[in-house]
Assembly symmetry: C2
Homo-oligomer: 356 residues x 2
């Protein structure tokens, strides 16, 4: 079975070995010259070189229906859907390593596909993974291998490995102290606003053709859609934070409120947001709210509870100047562990197990 540059076969017609051959043509050139991969795909397991005394490791799954809908790419070139899914699946794991101040060294990818998916889809997906590994902060990361399987729904689980970078120091959740400044690097609420744009564009509109309005978006709205489809976490922010003496940190995957509550509980501190800072974050998103015909108040919801921003939250001692890329969100105080509730309403954040 040979596979052409544009392979019209389905993965079921091609079979596992031919699909592996196609994806190797994407990942082998990426892996070449990167020193971390001692033995690449093709044996029972991959073998990585350990450069330090610790390995930082995380895993995350992305599923069609649960995490994205293919209709979000209706009207886009065919390769964008698999490329964006590959980028997002990799990025959410790279973000977890960033949140520990670790440098990514390797990804392992377990891909489950319905039998009618094309071999081209797999190639484009891996191109999206490689794109995520080309971001500053992830450039030493190899794609070490994985597993291919068949199932009724597309899903992918990526495991990411990294090594502590800055003298072995880790950015943990439990070190924040009263008096610290709470700061963030990366966008807030963009992915939630992008989700709202994508979902709204799928609703039938009686008076207009069923065009996919987000294709014509510009400015902040286009950035929000991109943040949802192919996030770009600030992958050097974790190491930057540790170098700047950050006392604690984590990435924002389930929404600012929910994730801040976790950091507050882990550190046994109280987090109080600056109202002006939250207002400034929300204000940026107001053009999107207007485009959707929604009140400006929805922007604060996006900022406080929107998931998948993959921004980096960190606490810094008060005497330390915030490093480049970080902006102040609030302060760390003593008191019952949690997040100050003034002006926050009933915001809760994303729970991966709950049906909404």
């Amino acid at each position: 079975m040979t596979s052409m540059p544009h392979d019209p076969l389905t993965v079921s017609q091609a079979g596992e070995d031919a699909v592996v051959e196609v994806l190797r043509r994407v990942i082998d050139p990426h892996n070449a010259g990167r020193p971390g991969l001692f033995l690449g795909p093709g044996d029972d397991a991959a073998v990585l070189t350990c450069f330090s005394a610790q390995t930082v490791i995380t895993t995350d799954t992305l599923s069609e229906g649960q995490d994205f809908r293919r209709q979000w790419w209706a009207g886009s070139p065919a390769k964008e859907w698999p490329q964006d899914v590959g980028t997002k699946a990799a990025a959410q794991n790279l973000s977890d390593l960033n949140a520990m101040a670790a440098t990514p060294t390797a990804l392992l990818i377990s891909l489950t596909l319905p039998p009618e998916f094309s071999v081209d889809w797999v190639r484009d997906f891996y191109q999206g993974v490689v794109r995520a590994c080309s971001q500053t902060g992830a450039q030493q990361c190899v794609v070490a291998g994985g597993d291919l399987g068949s199932g009724p729904e597309m899903s992918v689980t990526i495991t990411a490995l990294g090594e502590p970078r800055e003298k072995g120091r880790l950015l943990k959740r439990d070190g924040a102290r009263a008096g610290d400044v709470l700061a963030v690097s990366g966008v807030l609420g963009y992915a939630a606003a992008g989700l709202a744009l994508l979902e709204q564009s799928m609703k039938p509109v009686s008076s207009e053709p069923a065009a996919h309005a987000w294709e014509a978006l510009t400015g902040i709205a286009a950035q929000c859609v991109a943040a949802q489809k192919r996030p770009q976490p600030p992958l050097t922010a974790g190491v930057t934070a540790v170098r700047a003496q950050a006392s604690a940190g984590m990435d924002l995957s389930d929404g600012l409120m929910r994730d801040c509550s976790r950091l507050a509980r882990a550190s046994d501190v109280r987090i109080t947001f600056d109202d002006a800072a939250l207002a400034a974050e929300a204000r940026v998103l107001e053009p999107v709210a207007r485009q959707l015909g929604l009140s400006d108040s929805v922007c604060r919801d996006w900022v406080l509870t929107g998931g998948e921003d993959f921004a980096l939250l960190a606490a810094f001692p008060p005497e330390v100047p915030l490093p480049e890329g970080f902006r102040r969100l609030g302060s760390i105080e003593s008191g019952p562990a949690g997040v100050s509730a003034e002006t926050l309403g009933t915001h809760r954040g994303w729970d991966s197990m709950r049906s909404e």
Copy 2:
């Protein structure tokens, strides 16, 4: 949200944090005292201690419908289904490490569950994972963490990490040489025979009550069902093989024919099976064929193409006595890479991407 020893809540009712609390009660006692886990579940990523200069890593997914059916456990105590799925998901990954002569050090688990699954199911699943890590050869393996998600189908992806054990030597696929002896440790065809028993028991039988006949099985039939539901790979065989100068090896996950073809291609050798050895392997399974009302010839199919045996295949130089636990299957010869086809018919083996 507190979780009682027997939690009647669904995962959707309980929410992610409560489910994590329950699974921590299973894995924390297992992890305690094992030196490999520097930072366990609860932060953005886990941190493992590296004891050697290399990490061996593999990943595999198990999905309901594709890899098992819950009806296989109809009539069994409720905990057996999740426990067996946990054991099997872990075992298939531990087997890949065994196949590299690596000692397992850590598992990462990404579990996707339909919202109506119970919190108890998650607890029992993790008990099954811990059971697999209690097998000889895996006893230093920690459960480092993972990810919980919701989806329409139950699936689990486990990533397993290990370290080369015997002076850093790896058991690769590409070292077999003409003159070597082909040998195996572990069972052949048992998982396929067990699958046939489980599938047959689900067919409605007009003249009898719809009892689950496998509950009453004994002897070889019971062993075959167990091999399918909760495999026990020979987890010390990889290190044993390397100590005995094995030139190549791999585990049998897609069937003897298919996996031998891969080893033959990787080593550029020809594999010829001993007919008498295959016949002896098949003969063991004849009581199962008779129980199913099938001709004895099906036993050879099970041996040659049955997947999921997780036995260890290895090639040894002719002058070396086969180590304990290994039995001879054939020989390695020069010639066009492949497997000798006499008496083999059209046997092919399992392809994870093809619809059968």
